[in-house]
């Protein structure tokens, strides 16, 4: 199975210095402050070093060390004693600002980390989905983070700093996105063989569109319309897909952790941000997930052509 030339599924990662929300923006300001200040101090030190090396190259060593000691006092003690508290104070101000508890109107979302995907739940509306977080633009969001297996870390660079998902603990992360768009989220703590491919998509929508989307997710995907789709549902159940994957009103899942597929067709990516969600990729993924993403928890499936076509038709109907 070749893994080359896969279509790029997820959006390009954003930069820490190109923020789209207030938290990342205030950190970006702090970052620029430290880069400029640190760069100047580094440059000055190098200039002093060069001067020291060029100085006296032609003279005999000096005996009087008063000047040299004054330099140590100023450059080694006084300047750091001014600069470092300034950095600390600025960091503290930014830190307090970004760790303020979420206001009551904040949207609550629960994220559970699994090797190597993310379960996303909207507790207020009972929606369960995977590898996609939809948030409203301009409204604070509070993520409740935990892990079902090993430690993961959730990071969307242009939105905010990262927070770890630790089994047995619940961490919170608050942020707000001010610009509509689709952003790449990444796992930032090494979590096993496919750590690199554990990504998700953060979609920021205007409030109205967000509510529409949430409403769509809240409804069951409905019963299959066509014979082919109905045949696909039977394949889904016969091939034991439903043992692990939940589809509302169809299968309970849960034998082993796996993404909820109730609204699979509405997602932009499959395989945790790795592949674009289209028919070809879906087929390849179902038949040989281990070839595409070695070490992933999903087993390969041996399906005949008709069965596969039916299954694909069914899965694509899960809007």
């Amino acid at each position: 199975m070749s893994t080359e030339a896969l279509p790029v599924a997820a959006p390009a990662p954003g930069s820490v210095l190109d923020p789209v929300g207030p938290d990342a923006a205030s950190i970006a300001g702090l970052t620029w402050f430290m880069i400029v200040l640190g760069g100047l101090l580094w440059l000055a030190t190098v200039v002093f070093l060069v001067l020291a090396l060029r100085h006296r190259a032609h003279r005999a060593p000096r005996r009087n060390t008063r000047g040299a000691k004054a330099f140590i006092a100023v450059w080694g003690v006084v300047i750091p004693m001014i600069v470092l508290p300034a950095v600390f104070a600025y960091s503290l101000v930014v830190g307090i600002g970004i760790s303020r508890p979420a206001p009551p109107e904040a949207l609550d979302i629960e994220v559970v980390g699994y090797q190597f995907w993310w379960e996303v739940r909207y507790p207020d509306s009972g929606v369960v989905t995977a590898n996609e977080v939809h948030v409203p633009v301009g409204r604070p969001v509070q993520l409740q983070l935990t892990s079902a297996d090993v430690i993961h870390s959730l990071w969307v660079p242009p939105v905010s700093g990262k927070v770890d998902l630790v089994p047995g603990r619940e961490n919170t992360m608050t942020f707000q996105v001010d610009e509509p768009g689709t952003y790449l989220g990444e796992c930032a703590e090494f979590c096993g063989i496919q750590h690199a491919r554990m990504q998700f998509v953060l979609v920021a929508l205007p409030e109205e569109e967000f509510q529409e989307h949430l409403l769509a997710l809240r409804l069951a995907s409905g019963t299959p319309d066509t014979d082919l789709e109905r045949a696909g549902r039977d394949v889904f159940l016969a091939a034991s897909c439903g043992d692990c994957h939940r589809v509302e009103d169809v299968s309970e899942g849960g034998v082993a952790p796996a993404p909820d597929l109730t609204h699979l067709a509405s997602r932009e990516t499959i395989a945790a941000g790795m592949l674009e969600n289209n028919r070809g990729n879906l087929a390849g993924w179902i038949l040989d997930p281990q070839g595409l993403k070695p070490g992933v928890r999903m087993p390969p499936n041996n399906l005949g052509g008709d069965e596969l076509q039916a299954l694909l038709a069914y899965l694509e109907s899960l809007e």
């Binding site: 070093l49 080694g76 630790v166 961490n171």
Partner: protein
């Protein structure tokens, strides 16, 4: 130099007492510090080469997006082994090995205080390294990262024996490191030449003293953490299992309580090398000796107060984070003092442009940049962005390669002539410096940008269109240049052994006692042990003023009562000669002890516990024999 002369004939007795026994048995039982330290140095550099080769594989993989050069599993194994090798098998041992070779010479004594412990330390170090690398033979290479976070490394998510190889191998190396630290601390406290008050000892020994004490406090928690994890894996205990009352963050606390001091443990010997070389090549005494010594101690102490800054993203309370951030932000001050002192010394003196000085200038340029990014990651909000991104990778390579490898290379160019008696080529040395310096910056500077662009660490590949391709490709090109520079040094070392100019006793106009003896030094280092009256024994106008009546201790050192190895012990602060003691000459016990311990750990690995029991019993018996026998030839 008013030193006693031995009566004719006794010189041979001294040489015979210190001669290394012949043959394979002789070299397996050898205890002399120079011989064992040389093995330590060579072994550490072999591991450095292995770790370097692993990094080249990784760089090649990351040079382009969606590369299929390595698969995910191999990549994860390589970065685990690279980090483990560089931190445990190279950076710490090489500092200790340098100190083991040169500190006895600089302090004016004949050997380390516990020669059998020296040899034992070497054997378990090399066995631990072999143990770790044996995992390749069994296809069970550790893949949990050098930090080995639970629960990923627990039995449930790492069922094979790969993590056991890691835990057992690393624990072996830790024991070796702790043994070396005890040895070096006692050396510095009790084996200085008469008259070398603690305020007169070379700055390198201050650095090694602080390093040693830090190891004594920082490594045991990691040993404990590793044993607990091994118990979780083999016995089925619950220390790290959150489902049954354990806690995944316990490992992180214990690991980083070791892990942050570890950075200074790696760094401090390097800073000591710089403090030694700068005055010699600036042709002037160091400015601010006491300040440097005090700031070295301060670094050691502060190093224990900052471990949580590796855990800023784990969801700890904000107040705790602020405290650890504050502590982390103050650690640069002692470093700034040292850097300013070196610059001031260079300004004060008249520099001699030799290769070691080039490496030191390179060190300052790189290390200060690493310090700047270090301040950045000590800031909690910025760290929550930079943590586990390539920014951090760039930062700690600036600190560790800049702060430790460059000084070690400077030290190599500076001191290898003492070991081999031959100079390294200056021209080739300068070429190697420029290649290393440019290659290093080309490799690691772009990674700062990659990190800010959102690239996490420890990913085996990345998608096209991420915007990371250019900087990653630059890094890969840089790593090839860097390798060329290091190979140039290797070639220089090899050819110097044969074709290098003769070094003579003191090619640099050195300040410390190591340049007083021949190159290579005689097995006993000093026939008559010098009595020191100042900080720069070889530069002081009246260097060796006998204050203490030499008729007893000095005469005895010169004319040992038989073929025995003797050293003089001096008092803790003022180095008043107190007694002459006899050291072991050769011993099988260190090797046997190490072999029995390998047997014990091997038994744990394959879960054949009677084997472990036999190994432990053997080790206890060897321990009894070890303490029972003096092995000093008297």
């Amino acid at each position: 130099m008013t030193l006693l002369q031995a009566r004719p004939g006794t010189e041979d007795r001294l040489a015979a007492a210190w001669a290394t026994p012949r043959g394979l048995a002789g070299s397996l039982t050898a205890l002399n510090h120079k011989q064992v330290a040389q093995r330590f140095l060579v072994t550490a550099f072999v591991f450095f080469a292995l770790g370097g080769i692993q990094s080249l594989f990784m760089r090649w993989q990351l040079g382009s997006a969606e590369s299929t050069f390595l698969d995910a599993q191999t990549y994860n194994e390589l970065f685990t082994m690279h980090g483990t090798t560089m931190m445990f098998l190279f950076a710490v041992p090489v500092g200790e090995a340098f100190a083991m070779y040169f500190l006895p010479l600089m302090l004016g004594t004949r050997d380390l205080p516990f020669p059998r412990l020296t040899a034992f330390g070497y054997y378990i170090y090399v066995f631990g390294g072999i143990f770790l690398y044996a995992s390749f033979l069994f296809g069970e290479v550790p893949d949990g990262g050098w930090f080995s976070y639970v629960p990923l490394t627990g039995a449930e998510y790492s069922p094979g024996s790969s993590i056991d190889f890691w835990l057992l191998g690393v624990t072996f190396v830790e024991i070796a490191t702790i043994g070396g630290a005890i040895e070096l601390v006692v050396l510095i406290l009790r084996n200085r030449a008469p008259g070398m008050k603690i305020s007169r000892m070379p700055l390198l020994s201050w650095n090694v003293l602080v390093t040693g004490v830090s190891i004594i406090f920082a490594f045991p928690p990691l040993v404990v953490a590793s044993v607990l994890l091994e118990l979780d894996r083999t016995v089925g205990t619950h220390f790290y299992d959150p489902a049954t009352g354990g806690d995944a963050l316990l490992w992180q606390h214990l690991f980083w309580f070791f892990g942050h001091p570890e950075v200074y443990i790696v760094l401090l010997p390097g800073l000591g090398i710089v403090s030694t070389i700068v005055p010699v090549l600036a042709r002037t005494r160091i400015v601010g000796y006491s300040l440097i010594a005090v700031s070295t101690v301060a670094i050691g102490i502060l190093g224990f107060g900052v471990w949580v800054h590796h855990m800023f993203t784990t969801g700890l309370p904000q107040l705790g984070l602020a405290f650890f951030s504050l502590a982390s932000l103050f650690i640069p001050i002692p470093s700034a003092i040292q850097i300013s002192a070196w610059i001031a010394t260079l300004w004060q003196g008249r520099v001699v442009w030799k290769t070691p000085l080039l490496y030191i200038v390179g060190f300052i340029v790189i290390f200060v940049a690493g310090g700047v990014t270090g301040v950045m990651v000590a800031s909690v909000p910025f760290d929550q962005q930079a943590h586990d991104s390539y920014f951090v990778v760039a930062h700690f390579h600036y600190v560790l390669i800049g702060g430790m490898l460059f000084p070690v290379l400077a030290g190599l160019y500076f001191w290898l002539p003492k070991i081999t008696g031959r100079m390294l080529s200056e021209r080739s040395g300068k070429v190697s410096f420029w290649l290393t310096f440019v290659g290093f910056n080309l490799t690691f500077f772009p990674l700062h940008i990659t990190g800010l662009q959102g690239m996490p660490r420890r990913v085996y590949t990345y998608a096209e269109g991420t915007g990371w391709e250019t900087t990653q490709a630059l890094s890969t090109i840089g790593s090839i240049v860097l390798t060329t520079g290091l190979l140039a040094t290797l070639g220089n070392v090899i050819s110097s052994v044969r074709y290098g100019e003769r070094a003579g006793d003191d090619p640099w106009g050195g300040e410390t006692l190591d340049w007083w003896v021949s190159s290579p030094p005689p097995a006993y280092n000093f026939r008559a042990v010098p009595e020191v009256a100042g900080r720069s024994p070889l530069w002081d106008t009246r260097p060796f003023q006998p204050r203490y009546d030499p008729s007893t201790w000095q005469q005895e050192l010169l004319e040992p009562p038989g073929q025995v190895r003797q050293v003089v012990l001096t008092s803790l602060l003022d180095a008043v000669p107190e007694e002459v003691i006899t050291l072991p000459k050769q011993s099988w016990w260190p090797l046997l002890m190490a072999l029995f311990l390998v047997l014990a750990l091997g038994g744990v690995l394959v879960s054949v516990y009677p084997l472990s029991l036999a190994g432990l019993l053997g080790a206890v018996c060897v321990g009894i024999a070890w303490t029972w026998s003096r092995e000093d030839g008297s």
